[in-house]
């Protein structure tokens, strides 16, 4: 087993690193007259975080059974080793000693390593998507949805930027931002729809992953402000100056690099989902209990992010962004680009989910949704499937959050509010659980309704409307809008065919949501 050997060697390396670190701590850190080095509380926190990530990396490594999984886990561990080495070189080994690195060097190293990892991840992601699509039964409806999203990605920016405001097809600036926001909500809904509709995991805390992705990009945007803040402090964001902080907390380091921030957009929700799922699925927490703890998760994060000393701007969150990748964040061109990016991200996310659910993997998900223990008796490790799809879904929600924040210009702890997560579930229910296009449609329709309502005199009644909508949908349209359309379409087909059930091969595994003679490709 080459994989386990890789793991052991890496584990050993880490052990050695820890021992060196401990030795260095003893030698330099704790001595009163240590040559200029101070291991303070922040360093201890940093080392603590590092240790947690290390444990996660080892857990990933031990649960990865395929070669590809081992490679991914190996890379992950290599990154942790790199982080450990940087902590060692920057903080533990004092200046002047061999192997000491000053902070600028470390920053540069982290920037380039992040860029390399991001490039690698992009290549691997494209290869994986290609592998998924190869021989997958996407169906014409799937490609139609992708085509529509890509058309929207091109048409809306073009109509916004290159038509005169008087032109009948002109899309005003406010509409670009508004619909761009809906697109990110749609991506969040898709991530919820994937795990709820196909795997039966009802997450009432997906807003947390969305918000974490948003905070990660928000931190990047905060660092881009530089000295242009109210206090004109080049090193610290305004809220830290206001709180009389003297230096940047370690978890804010490196966020001025876009590759690093982008990685964190996916990694932070992904790692949190992994740790959470690792415990929850392994101990076979399911159904309503799982929903409750996901809700607790987002609530706990809400409380934490509200605190000033948590280090993310407290109550006010992060705002007053100036630019992104050097472009003014308010400029119409930037907004149009962000819109296009959101539409493309949604198209990619949709295509990925579609390919996933139409593979045998997707069939296993539906199988375990309907009969979990039966699936175990066939030899499937149900918890691994749930963990994989939960982590993918969380990273997707993180990307959605990261596209949302630059378009709305603010991220605050309110995004962690349990209501947000519940709303996302309602979008899916309205659009159609057990389909992939349903969440997209549901998120768009419900949010459009919300915009209409909350800008009028009826604003205070929106929660009642939303609740009422949920009740009406569950009672009268249990399959949601898309599911109902599918059902009617199938009835008509059936009547025309008037033959014994002859469905096409259930290609994308969302069989239950559609009636028996379904052509599952419809409306997807």
């Amino acid at each position: 087993m080459s994989g386990t050997i890789v793991g052991r060697v890496l584990g050993l390396c880490i052990l050695v690193l820890i021992l060196i670190g401990a030795a260095a701590l003893v030698l330099y850190g704790t001595l009163p007259d240590a040559s200029g080095v101070v291991i303070d509380a922040a360093d201890m926190q940093m080392i603590g975080v590092w240790a947690v990530v290390l444990v996660v990396a080892l857990a990933v490594q031990s649960s990865a059974k395929t070669l590809a999984g081992q490679i991914v886990a190996g890379l992950f561990i290599a990154l942790v080793v790199f982080a450990g080495a940087m902590i060692l070189a920057g903080r533990v080994i004092p200046p002047g000693q061999p192997f000491h690195l000053d902070f600028e060097r470390i920053e540069a190293a982290v920037f380039w390593v992040s860029a390399a990892v991001l490039a690698l991840a992009a290549i691997a992601g494209l290869a994986a998507l290609g592998g998924l699509l190869w021989g997958a039964r996407i169906g014409w409806t799937g490609y139609l949805v992708v085509a529509i999203l890509l058309l929207v990605a091109v048409a809306v920016p073009v109509l916004n930027l290159w038509t005169a405001p008087t032109h009948p097809l002109h899309v005003p600036n406010y509409a670009v931002s508004l619909f761009g926001k809906y697109l990110t909500y749609a991506l969040l809904a898709l991530s919820v729809g994937l795990i709820w509709g196909y795997c039966g995991i009802l997450s009432l805390g997906h807003g947390a992953f969305f918000a974490l992705g948003g905070y990660a990009i928000g931190m990047y945007l905060m660092r881009q402000i530089g000295a242009r803040g109210v206090y004109a402090n080049p090193d610290l964001p305004d809220f830290m100056v206001f709180l009389n902080w003297r230096e940047l907390p370690f978890f804010w380091h490196f966020f001025d690099g876009f590759p690093y921030a982008t990685l964190m957009v996916m990694a932070v929700p992904g790692v949190l989902a992994f740790v959470f799922g690792w415990f929850a699925f392994r101990s076979r927490v399911t159904g309503v209990y799982l929903s409750i703890i996901t809700q607790a998760l987002t609530y706990a994060l809400l409380l934490a992010f509200f605190r000033n000393d948590f280090g993310f701007g407290g109550n006010n969150g992060l705002t007053d962004f100036k630019d992104i990748l050097g472009f003014n964040i308010q400029a119409p061109t930037t907004r149009a680009t962000l819109f296009a990016a959101s539409a493309i991200a949604l198209a990619i996310g949709y295509l990925m989910c579609r390919a996933m659910v139409s593979s045998k993997f997707g069939k296993v998900l539906v199988a375990l949704r309907d009969a979990e223990s039966r699936t175990r008796f066939l030899g499937y490790r149900v918890e691994r499937y749930k963990l994989a799809v939960f982590v993918i879904s969380a990273a997707m929600a993180g990307v959605a959050g990261a596209l949302y924040v630059p378009q709305v210009g603010i991220i605050n702890p309110g995004e962690f509010a349990p209501e947000n997560s519940i709303e996302a579930v309602i979008w899916v229910a309205v659009g159609g659980r057990g389909t992939l296009v349903g969440p997209i449609i549901g998120a768009t329709i419900v949010n459009y309704a919300k915009t209409v309502f909350t800008t009028g005199a009826l604003a205070p009644y929106w929660p009642f409307v939303l609740g009422g909508l949920f009740v009406v949908v569950t009672l009268f349209l249990p399959k949601g809008i898309v599911g109902t359309v599918q059902m009617i379409w199938n009835r008509m087909r059936e009547r025309r065919a008037a033959a014994p059930p002859r469905e096409e091969r259930n290609a994308d595994g969302h069989g239950t949501a559609v009636p028996p003679q379904a052509n599952p490709q419809l409306a997807e």
């Binding site: 045998k360 030899g379 059930p501 595994g509 028996p516």
Partner: protein, 250 residues
């Protein structure tokens, strides 16, 4: 480990299971040899299904030994790893994946890697397609391959589950009441099918239908109140006064 143990496919010794103080299995011992087909009978609540639960990892015994292939301790493993060893099970209440098509039910059961990566990127090969078609013919559902499993009759679901069991290519098959809810003709066909399967595999069948058990013509174990009451040919156990008392006493 003694010689006898190493020559067994399944070895249960002194197995106890209790639910809230109720002893479902009471010092149960059972030995199944390679290639054997064994019928297990017993009144309702005798512990037949519980015995299968213990073997397949659904229920952990309070005490006792459960070994597969003489050396593999099943009490230390979970359902998925036990299934991966080659122990397949048909449930008393037919449990097929209702929302999947008949064919997809077989696809999911088909022998092969169970890892997420493999199911995500793997594609069905020609050999697998052939095997799936063959299995569908064996269980007489080739004409209904694209039907949702929920549309099948009770008997057809039983057959589909047997097909899924075969698709796993297990070494040991645990078959819980395969003929329940079947017509007489279907029952007879099921007996033929099981005998066919038993030529190459080890099979344990639980059944109440005595005609069916007679059709099988194999060694019978009678369970009662969680332990073995009698063992031998069907004629032998039917003549056993203890067995007669249990069955007539009810």
């Amino acid at each position: 480990m003694d010689d006898k143990l190493s020559q067994t496919v399944l070895y249960l010794d002194g197995v106890n299971v209790s639910f809230d103080g109720f002893r479902a299995l009471n010092n149960l011992s059972l030995v199944i040899e390679p290639g054997e087909m064994r019928a297990i009978i017993g009144p309702n609540g005798a512990g037949k299904t519980t015995m299968m639960d213990v073997v397949t990892g659904k229920t952990k015994p309070d005490s006792g030994a459960v070994f597969f292939d003489g050396t593999v301790d099943l009490t230390k493993m979970d359902e998925a790893s036990i299934a991966s060893l080659g122990i397949g099970r048909k449930f008393q209440k037919p449990t097929v994946f209702e929302s999947h098509s008949v064919r997809d039910n077989i696809v999911l059961a088909l022998e092969g890697s169970r890892e997420p990566g493999a199911t995500l990127f793997g594609r069905e090969g020609a050999a697998q397609t052939t095997r799936i078609d063959e299995l569908l013919r064996i269980i007489r559902l080739d004409g209904k391959a694209s039907w949702p499993a929920s549309k099948l009759s009770h008997g057809q679901k039983q057959w589909l589950e047997i097909g899924m069991l075969l698709a796993q290519e297990p070494k040991l098959l645990l078959v819980d009441e395969p003929a329940a809810g079947m017509t007489d003709a279907e029952t007879a066909e099921t007996a033929v099918l099981l005998k066919e399967i038993a030529r190459t595999k080890t099979v344990i069948v639980v059944e109440h239908d005595m005609a069916f058990v007679r059709d099988l013509g194999v060694k019978v174990t009678v369970l009662h109140e969680g332990s073995v009451l009698s063992e031998g040919s069907l004629d032998h156990v039917s003549a056993d006064p203890k067995v007669i008392e249990v069955y007539l006493g009810r």
